[in-house]
């Protein structure tokens, strides 16, 4: 949490929760052989199961229904028994493999993952190249191999790419400059509404003219947010940025005359290809190039727009890291006082980080507006900020490839759950996998954080090398303010 204190080395990083559970389990004898005994594990699991029974009795076991003549209580013993059995089994397994063994499974798996990483030092680079190559041909891959479903897949790819871009934008603020920003979605909203409102009021403004304007406006709002939070540290910074995100959303919701309030803004123009619209008939894109009209052209085009925007974000970030301003961001994350003693204007440095991060958020926002054709404040809730931040944190603060992987896993994973129709054949026709996606999402996040507390790609790449490039372990790198 504190900027200066390095965390314990990764190899010895046991899950905090498990450690605490071990320490707090006062009734267990302290000796190691007792602690790891089967009887102890069983007793602990039984305790947990009993707790679930007590709690679950009211939540699961009893159900009140409105019936003629008042409420009737129905008892669902079967459901309660299943819940108790699941907790008992899971707790027992955890005890045996994680909590109460000399070598916890999590540690072994964490070690194995780290060892894999060490065995292939260029894994990240090659993975990055492979992903890039796939991203370039992606629309054609799907149209060729999945005819009929390509629209769905390309749409998903667009969504993932939007989050990658947002993640990269936020990475500048959170990962490099180390300023925890819980209201990043505000800039996404500013970008989207800038374009929507400009297009609504001025006939001649299309996507390509609005894009830079939206970016500039978002950057402007980034600076506006930057000023009050300059002096804030730690939790206070997080709270103020969170509030800022909400302020923007609430203003959009309530300023009915200007933003349309909860009705949103519709009829946002689609992007054109050098003036060619993706419409059927005379003068359209398909007509101009003499190919048969197909709806998918517009999606492919949208995909490439967001792909190029994301790549620009990435390239600018990578380039800036090796520039004085990027190094100053990282130095700021490491030690702000030392920065000032070296003559770095920390005010400007923080503001550039906020402005640049916000600008990319604004670009993504105006892309979002043109893709949807309709925006309303509902798209810019705190949950969006949380998802973007989760992408950055899961990927590993400051890691570009980590953001890509975690975007694919998180956004793609959530969407994947919509397509698991076969599960309803197992669990019965009433089973709806999408209802559980937040649960699975949460569990996945907890698991990743237990195994890789500093994100999937936690090492830092130096920006200047004299002889040999050595990656820097996460335990050395500070996290900055608000974590």
């Amino acid at each position: 949490m504190a900027a200066g204190t390095p965390t314990a080395p990764t190899a010895s990083n046991r899950p905090q929760g498990a450690q605490r559970a071990l320490e707090e389990r006062g009734d267990m004898p302290p000796a190691a052989d007792h602690r790891t005994s089967m009887a102890g594990s069983l007793r602990d699991a039984a305790t947990a199961a009993f707790l679930v029974f007590v709690l679950g009795f009211f939540f699961l076991g009893v159900r009140s229904d409105i019936a003629p003549g008042g409420l009737t209580l129905t008892f669902r013993w079967g459901l309660l028994a299943i819940a108790v059995a699941i907790v008992f089994g899971a707790r027992l397994l955890l005890n045996i493999f994680v909590f109460r063994t000399a070598r916890p499974l999590t540690q072994r798996m964490g070690g194995a993952i780290s060892a894999q990483g060490r065995a292939f030092p260029n894994l990240g680079k090659w993975l990055g190249r492979a992903l890039f190559a796939f991203a370039v041909i992606l629309p054609f891959f799907f149209t060729y191999f999945f005819p009929g479903r390509e629209r769905q897949y390309i749409d998903l790819a667009i969504l993932i790419m939007t989050y990658i871009m947002l993640g990269w934008g936020l990475n500048i603020v959170v990962g490099l400059a180390g300023l925890l920003d819980l209201g990043y979605v505000a800039f996404y909203a500013v970008g989207a509404y800038s374009f929507a409102l400009l297009a609504q009021h001025f006939e001649f403004i299309g996507f390509w003219t609005a894009l830079p304007l939206a970016g500039l406006l978002a950057a402007f709002w980034g600076i506006i947010l930057g000023f009050p939070v300059l002096r804030l540290r730690g939790d206070y910074l997080a709270i103020v940025t969170l509030a800022f995100g909400e302020i923007i959303r609430v203003v959009l919701l309530n300023w009915y005359e200007f933003t349309g309030g909860p009705d949103g803004i519709s009829g946002i123009p689609k992007p054109t290809f050098f003036g060619l619209e993706f419409v059927r008939g005379e003068g359209g894109f398909a007509d101009f190039f003499g190919i048969p009209f197909h709806n998918i052209h517009r999606f492919i085009y949208l995909y490439y727009i967001i792909f190029i925007l994301a790549i620009i974000t990435n390239l600018v970030t990578l380039r800036l890291r090796k520039m004085p301003v990027g190094r100053a961001w990282e130095a700021l994350r490491e030690d702000e006082i030392a920065c000032r003693s070296l003559g770095i204007n920390t005010t400007n440095t923080k503001l550039t980080a906020f402005a640049l991060g916000a600008m990319f958020g604004g670009f993504a926002g105006s892309f979002f507006a043109t893709r949807q054709g309709f925006i309303s404040p509902e798209s810019f809730t705190f949950l969006e900020s949380a998802i973007i931040l989760a992408i950055v944190v899961l990927g590993g603060l400051g890691s570009q490839i980590g953001v890509v992987i975690s975007s694919i896993v998180m956004i793609g994973g959530i969407e994947l759950l919509r397509n698991l129709g076969f599960l309803s054949q197992i669990f019965g026709p009433n089973f709806e996998p999408t209802q559980y996606r937040m649960l699975i999402f949460g569990i996945a996040m907890v698991l990743i954080m237990v195994w890789k507390p500093r994100g999937l790609v936690s090492t830092r790449e130096p920006t200047a090398v004299l002889k040999e490039k050595k990656r820097i372990g996460a335990d050395m790198v500070a996290q900055g303010e608000g974590h």
Binding site: R327, A328, R333, S341, L342, I472
Partner: protein
């Protein structure tokens, strides 16, 4: 305050009566500096000069206010009262000092010469324009960045200008590439001087303590300071490392136009390398002179070095005090 310092100096001192070097050509003048934290007076009406090209030591017992003076000079604290004048260019530059003070300005520049009133400047400008660099008592390196990167960050302002505030560097102008190369060369120069060249690509947090101390000095030197403020540079070093530090500081003074102001507890370091020693106790200056003068000053011995060693007690006042105490003790002993 020249008169105060001279009255504090012992009468037998060789330079009494004549103007001393640091009063004729000071790089930094601290005048009537007072720093209060609520009711606590950490530094009270302190005045001293730091001579150009000198190694000046600021010593005193724990809690004497040394680090507070440093924080005031480098802008991390805003002094309650007082003036701190930083001079670029030889001499007292009295006209310029008066002009900048009366004009309410932060600094004034006239050709090569410049005068800065540090108490009016924010901390980063003190480093950037007045060229005062500092190190910290509890080392403040960028632990997650490599040794080389630490030194590149120190050249931020030079590189920022060369990259035309990032824009030029972003579009790949050649000027920035040249500047970056020069910055790297300068970093390598200081890494060689501090014998850290082998560790250039290791994270700074990985270095042993003594290396971290040297790296912090190298990083401060990369800002090309006129005055280098070192806060306990020898703390935690073994005797060999201490001796190397002395060499490094003497090298910096000899080869670069950098004056040094240091806080130090290690008397070996202080006495060996300092040209000028200022002694603080409870926020007040009790002695000001060269190492020999200060070493023999009874006030200093009483306040700082202590009177534990029998051989040291050659000062009449102290001996008298001690005899009285012994007398009282023996009286009490005989009474019981």
């Amino acid at each position: 305050m020249v008169s105060a310092s001279q009255s504090a100096a012992p009468a037998a001192a060789p330079m009494t009566g004549e103007q001393r070097k640091w009063d004729i050509d000071p790089v930094l003048t601290v005048e009537h500096l007072t720093m209060r934290f609520g009711g606590l007076v950490a530094v009270n009406d302190l005045s001293f000069n730091v001579g150009r090209g000198d190694i000046t030591a600021l010593i005193g017992p724990n809690g004497a206010g040394k680090t507070t003076v440093f924080n005031c000079v480098t802008g991390f604290y805003k002094p309650t009262e007082g003036r701190t004048v930083m001079r670029h260019g030889a001499g007292l530059l009295q006209d310029m000092v008066d002009e900048v003070t009366a004009g309410g300005l932060r600094s004034i520049r006239d050709g090569d010469k410049a005068v800065f009133l540090l108490e009016r400047m924010p901390d980063f400008e003190i480093s950037q324009f007045a060229r005062v660099a500092r190190t910290f008592q509890n080392i403040r390196l960028f632990g997650g960045m490599t040794v080389l990167e630490n030194l590149m960050v120190a050249q931020h302002n030079t590189l920022m200008t060369a990259s035309i505030y990032t824009i030029g560097g972003l579009i790949g102008l050649p000027g920035y590439r040249v500047a970056e190369k020069a910055a790297k060369e300068k970093a390598v120069y200081w890494l060689e001087r501090t014998r850290l060249i082998e560790r250039a690509d290791d994270p700074a947090a990985d270095l042993p303590y003594g290396d971290q101390r040297r790296l912090e000095i190298a990083r401060a030197m990369c800002t090309e300071p006129h005055l280098l403020c070192l806060d306990e540079p020898a703390a935690g070093l073994n005797p060999r490392e201490s001796a190397e530090l002395n060499e490094l500081l003497q090298f910096i003074r000899a080869e670069h136009a950098t004056s040094i102001l240091l806080i130090e507890h290690d008397m070996g370091v202080v006495m060996e390398i300092s040209d000028h020693v200022v002694v603080l106790d409870y926020g007040v200056k009790i002695a000001d002179g060269d190492a020999i003068q200060v070493k023999n000053d009874p006030k200093v011995i009483a306040a700082y070095l202590g009177v534990d060693d029998e051989a040291e007690i050659d000062i009449p006042e102290v001996r008298k005090d001690l005899e009285e105490v012994e007398q009282a003790a023996s009286d009490e002993g005989s009474a019981s």
